[in-house]
Structure formats: structure tokens, C-alpha cells
Amino acid sequence: MWCYEKRLQFPVKINKTCPKTAQLIISQYGGPDGELSASMRYLAQRYSMPIKKVGGLMTDIGTEEINHMEIICAMVYQLTKNLTPEEAKTAGFDAYYIDHTAGVWPQAAAGVPFTALEFQSKGDAMADLYEDLAAEQKARTVYENLLRVIEDPDVREPLKFLRAREIVHFQRFGEALEMTKQKLDSKNFYYFNPEFDKKMFHQEEQ
């Protein structure tokens, strides 16, 4: 279960309204490599992980991704909370404004709504861990793309923090991959699926 703490993992205090910036960073809320997608991915995959410690790591990283989602949402909120209709029109935020006013809703930068199709839970530890490693890299790329075009230091500081986390998570998923490999036969890691062919996996373990 989860407990709420009344603080952000990394503080957000943005003074300038900027719907254009909100429209870009909202992708890290509801976009293909966003934090919502990341948290749901790891929190879905963990149930059937064959190695208990790997499931534990997925719980902890998935939980941190929820913190990151809250940071992104706080940024979108602060960038648009004093929005005028005029600003919405000139900054290209008009379509979002018509559907959501200044409410926060998960979508990608290009307007595509959040969808579970953005992530997989394949039921195969190797396939899932490779997806997770790739997901951290893709999210790092998005943060770097944002850092190239956004100038407001109040926005850049949390983005820099979030980018740094992707690298740490990548390392941890790599370690999870190594932990999984250790329990398999290095002559053929693909002889069976440890997440599904449980009998064969438990024989291997002994």
C-alpha cells in the first residue's frame, strides 16, 4: 500500500505563466515515455517477476515514478494556473484549453491521450527488463530535448533532477538483469521463461 507525504520529492516553484512550456512538459505526464507510463509499467510488471528482489526494486522505482509524475503535474499546474484566454490563444495552448480549461490531464505533447499501449507487461522477465532499460533511456532523451529548448531556470532545475534519475534507474535495472541472469543457465538464457515455466526455473535454482 502507499502513504502520502505532503511535499514533492523535488520542489517546484515557477513564477512565470507559460502555456507553451506546459504543453511541452505535459508529455512527461501522459506521453509515451512519461512518468505515468513509467510507474504503471513497473508496478504492473512486478507481480510475476521470478526473482523476489527484482519485484522489490520495481516496487520502489515504480513508487519513485509516481513522485516524478507529481513533480511534472505541479509544473504544468503552476505554468498554467493564471492563464488568460488570450495567452491560451497565442501560445498554441488553445485546443487544450477548450477541452480542459486550466485543469491537468494526461496527454502527450502532441495531444495524444495517455494510453496503456505506451507500456508492456510481457510476462517474461528478460523482455520486461529490456523494456525497462529502454524506457529509462527514452525518458532521459525527452528530458534532454526539453532542457535544450526551455529557458526558465525555475523549470530547468526540476527537469535536470528528473533526467539524473533516469540514469540511476537504468543502472538499477541493469543490476536487476544481472540478478536474473545469475539464476539462469548462461549457456542458454532463453531455454525457458522463468516467469512462466516455473517448474523448470525452480529446478534450475537448486
Binding site: 507525504e5 505532503k6 514533492l8 520529492q9 507529481e70 533526467r163 540511476v168 549457456k187
Partner: protein
């Protein structure tokens, strides 16, 4: 089969990725882990376009006592978050566990102190910080996304 045995008994095998396990590297002071994005200097890999961002959470001057205390809680809590992921994959690391114990104790004290002086950030600190309270104070204080006390 001799050739295959030789090739497959090494750490690296065909059709499989491998990544070295992180060894313990002397961590940053917990107060600076948050601004670095990790407690481990060996995992802090900067992006050239983000090197010169001023660090608002590092500045102590001009900040209210409440802001300073919240920053301290954020810092110690983050150091614990990062250490948690490390310990998930390094459960036998004594250095990691010792630091985890020290920081967790520190965090509990800071949370209780903050609840006593300002408002609770966790439900349990409402009780540890203000045991005599006659009032349920969970709704007190700013909502986190408004940017208060940064």
C-alpha cells in the same frame, strides 16, 4: 564443445546484455544529494545543456526558517530514496545499511520537529511531533503543488 564452453563461461555471452554492478563509491553529503540528482558521485553524469542551471535549493540566504527546514527534509528523504534503490540490489552492503540507518533516524526527527513547528508532512509525524494535540491537523499547511516554502 570446448570452444563453446570457453566462450560461454565468461561474464559476457552472445545475445545477452551485461552491465557491471555498482561498487560502493563515497557518497555525497546527504544535504547535496538532491541537487545532484543522486547520492552517488559515480552515477552523476551531467548533460552539457544543463550544467549551468542555478541551484535554488542550495541557497540558504534569504530563505525563511520554514523553507530551510523543508529543504532539509526533502534532502534527507531523497538521500534515503536513492539509497533504497541501491540497497535493493546490494542488500549485503554494510556501508549502505549504516548510512540508511543514520539518515532514517535523522528524517524521523526532522519530520517530528517540522510537524511541531509548522504542519505535519506525514500522518505519523502529526503524533510524534504534536502528541498533545487536540486537533486533527492533516489538512494544515500548503498543498505541495502550490510551490509554497520553496
Amino acid at each position: 564443445m570446448g570452444f563453446l564452453d570457453d566462450c560461454c563461461n565468461t561474464g559476457e555471452t552472445l545475445a545477452m546484455a551485461s552491465l557491471p554492478l555498482q561498487e560502493w563509491c563515497e557518497p555525497y553529503d546527504w544535504k547535496t544529494a538532491l541537487s545532484n540528482g543522486t547520492i552517488f558521485p559515480c552515477l552523476n553524469m551531467e548533460f552539457y545543456k544543463a550544467e549551468k542551471i542555478p541551484c535554488s535549493i542550495c541557497k540558504e540566504e534569504g530563505q525563511s526558517d520554514q523553507s530551510k527546514k523543508l529543504n532539509e527534509i526533502n534532502a534527507v528523504s531523497f538521500a534515503i530514496n536513492d539509497l533504497t534503490l541501491y540497497l535493493d540490489t546490494h542488500p549485503d552492503c554494510k556501508n549502505g545499511l549504516a548510512l540508511f540507518k543514520e539518515l532514517t533516524q535523522k528524517r524521523l526527527e526532522l519530520l517530528a520537529d517540522y510537524a511541531k513547528q509548522y504542519n505535519p508532512l506525514t500522518q505519523s509525524s502529526m503524533i510524534t511531533g504534536t502528541p498533545e494535540t487536540e486537533e486533527y491537523g492533516w489538512a494544515k499547511g500548503p498543498v505541495p503543488w502550490e510551490g509554497g516554502h520553496v
